[in-house]
């Protein structure tokens, strides 16, 4: 990560370019984690919660665990994250791991910054780099102003932001999310989506559980069904996604990467960056062509902090109109691509903040009454 110092958290875009389809050379991360005949039970006479699970999670893989309540999803997540040791079998390979629990308890006697400093040190970070990384993570999730607030006095959503931040601090090679989106506001959810895309593009693996079946669907999650202690890989794509999960996901990751590349390349990233940007964009096809508005509804995204010397982003899918006033950028677009656009915007840099996401009836749509940002 040579360029990382100068260019900050999104330097992977310049160093490696978008992840090639079909898994090209990765960089910067250890290669995933593997479970061999893993079983877990809490006591000799207790029933097996999971048993004989063989799984391979290579770098760059996004995995979604599905199953009913009590099916063992969380137990399996804890084993994958290394929080829990399997009762039988073994776990091979352990990249640096970030784990976000479902409910982060507010009882700890630290401020957000102190807690993140301790956790960052436990992850092997130190000094100035740790401090700026904490600022970066909190700011990205919209929690910068709460850095000095004691965790004890924080709301559930704020605590969850701190929990997400501690997992993202080390840019982990394995990110494990147990319903991590619960309690986050819209902008923070989008920021977490963006962080997941970043980890994947950086060659990291991400494993998650979430109630929302559409969560990260556009990034091409492999779906695993956990039931009665066994795990089956569900091969088919989620309903409603055209073209299969994996190709769709590759396109989404490419969109995200290409747009950030286009933006960053024009930002004066140097000749090498410009060259790479060209490589990344060549032959990309019309992935970002403007789409027909679906269902007559539109999403309006407002961001602030858009760099003044940066051209308007191009090739964003589904964008209908864009306007800027000073550092404020307002994008009116088709709801289907809004996640990708949000992530692309957030990937430009820490200074870009999402000020509002709301859904409005389009010119031909006449329905009313949906909540702002009510897509999720």
């Amino acid at each position: 990560m040579l360029a990382g110092v100068a260019l900050g958290g999104e330097a992977w875009l310049l160093v490696g370019g978008p992840a090639p389809p079909g898994g090209g050379p990765r960089h910067g991360q250890e290669d995933g984690v593997r479970l061999e005949r893993v079983g877990k039970r809490y006591g000799i006479r207790q029933p097996w919660i999971v048993r004989d699970v063989n799984l391979d999670i290579p770098g760059g893989r996004l995995v979604r665990l599905e199953g009913r309540n009590g099916s063992g999803k969380s137990t399996l997540l804890r084993i994958i994250a290394g929080v829990s040791v399997p009762s039988s079998g073994r776990v091979i390979g352990r990249p640096g791991t970030g784990y976000v629990p479902e409910r982060f308890p507010p009882g700890l006697p630290f401020s957000a910054r102190d807690y993140l400093t301790h956790l960052g040190r436990a992850h092997g970070l130190a000094g100035q780099a740790l401090g700026s990384r904490i600022d970066e993570c909190l700011d990205r999730l919209g929690g910068a102003e709460f850095a000095a607030v004691p965790l004890r006095t924080m709301s559930k959503g704020m605590c969850q932001k701190v929990a997400v931040a501690q997992a993202l601090l080390p840019r982990p090679g394995l990110l494990v999310l147990d319903e991590a989106w619960t309690g986050l506001d819209t902008a923070a959810r989008a920021a977490l989506d963006g962080a997941v895309a970043e980890r994947l593009a950086d060659g990291g693996a991400v494993v998650f559980v979430d109630h929302d079946p559409r969560r990260l669907a556009e990034l091409g999650a492999e779906r695993w069904q956990v039931s009665r202690g066994t795990v089956e890989v569900v091969a088919d794509a989620p309903a409603g996604l055209a073209g299969g999960a994996s190709s769709q996901g590759t396109a989404a990751r490419k969109d995200l990467a290409a747009n950030a590349l286009a933006a960053t390349g024009r930002h004066g990233g140097g000749p090498g960056a410009a060259g790479l940007a060209g490589d990344g964009l060549d032959g990309d096809g019309p992935a970002g062509a403007a789409a027909e508005p679906s269902g007559g509804r539109q999403v309006v995204i407002e961001v602030s902090g858009y760099p003044a010397d940066l051209a308007l982003p191009e090739r964003l899918p589904g964008v209908l109109a864009m306007s800027r006033a000073q550092d404020r950028l307002t994008i009116r677009m088709d709801p289907a691509g809004s996640d990708i656009v949000l992530r692309a915007l957030l990937a430009i840099g820490d200074q870009v903040r999402v000020r509002g996401v709301r859904e409005e009836p389009g010119p031909q749509g006449r329905e009313r009454g949906e909540q702002p940002g009510g897509r999720r």
Binding site: Y42, R78, A81, G82, V83, S84, V85, S87, G96, T97, G98, Y99, V100, P101, E102, R103, F104, P105, G107, L108, P109, F110, D114, H118, L119, R121, A122, H123, G124, A163, Q166, A167, P170, V176
Partner: protein, 224 residues
């Protein structure tokens, strides 16, 4: 490991959970044991009282962190290392208790021995050395008791507290306990304590290693 240990120590200190065992220790040493002028008696008492104080302190440490927060640290450092770090943090703060106890006994016993000369001084140094060894042994035994009788090895609060109390009584009163054996020799004539002088130390260290290992192994298997 050091980072996790610092985190655990900060957790224990800033949650103020270190205070109740400290109050117990101060009351026991200064209150119940107060007014025992010979240094040997004082050091024996302050060493023995470390066992319940450090056992309680260790329990406070092991129950300080909510499960989800512990999981975040365990993902970073591994559950076993996290557990050892917590035990180490409690032991370090327990050592702080011990220093305070020894300092108190030395200070309160200074006056009566002033009029006598160097002969008394040499004897005092020997008593002090014996007292320090006994203090160390009791510190280790207290930590071992705390690790054995609390989560993750014994999870239910009632069972954990009852077994901690029982183990403390056993460690203080039983003839085979290293804490008891070490405390008995404090202040007595050197030849009386010279049979197998290192045995209580070895026993205490062995006890500590077994307790910490069991606790660390169990930490990886817990459910919450």
């Amino acid at each position: 490991m050091i980072a996790v240990c610092r985190y655990q120590a900060a957790l224990l200190l800033r949650s103020h959970r270190w205070i109740p065992p400290a109050v117990l220790y101060v009351l026991a040493v200064a209150g119940l044991g107060g007014g025992s002028p010979p240094l040997g008696d004082g050091l024996r008492w302050s060493a023995l009282m470390l066992v319940p104080a450090v056992a309680w302190l260790t329990r406070s440490m092991l129950t300080a962190e909510p499960g989800a927060a512990r999981a975040c640290v365990a993902a970073a450092a591994g559950p076993r290392r996290t557990q050892v770090a917590a035990l180490l943090a409690a032991l370090a703060i327990g050592a702080g208790y011990a220093l305070v106890g020894v300092a108190y006994e030395v200070v309160t016993s200074v006056k009566p021995m002033n009029p006598h000369g160097s002969v008394r001084l040499a004897a005092t140094v020997s008593v002090l050395a014996g007292g320090l060894v006994a203090t160390l042994i009791c510190l280790l035994v207290g930590s071992a008791v705390g690790a054995f009788c609390n989560p993750p090895l014994i999870r239910r609060p009632a069972a954990a507290m009852l077994s901690t109390t029982g183990a403390v009584v056993l460690a203080l009163a039983s003839n085979v306990s290293p804490a008891n054996a070490a405390a008995r020799t404090v202040g007595s004539a050197p030849q009386a304590s010279s049979w197998l002088p290192g045995l209580p130390v070895i026993a205490a260290v062995a006890l500590l290693v077994v307790a910490w290992t069991a606790s660390a192994l169990a930490a990886g298997h817990r459910s919450g």
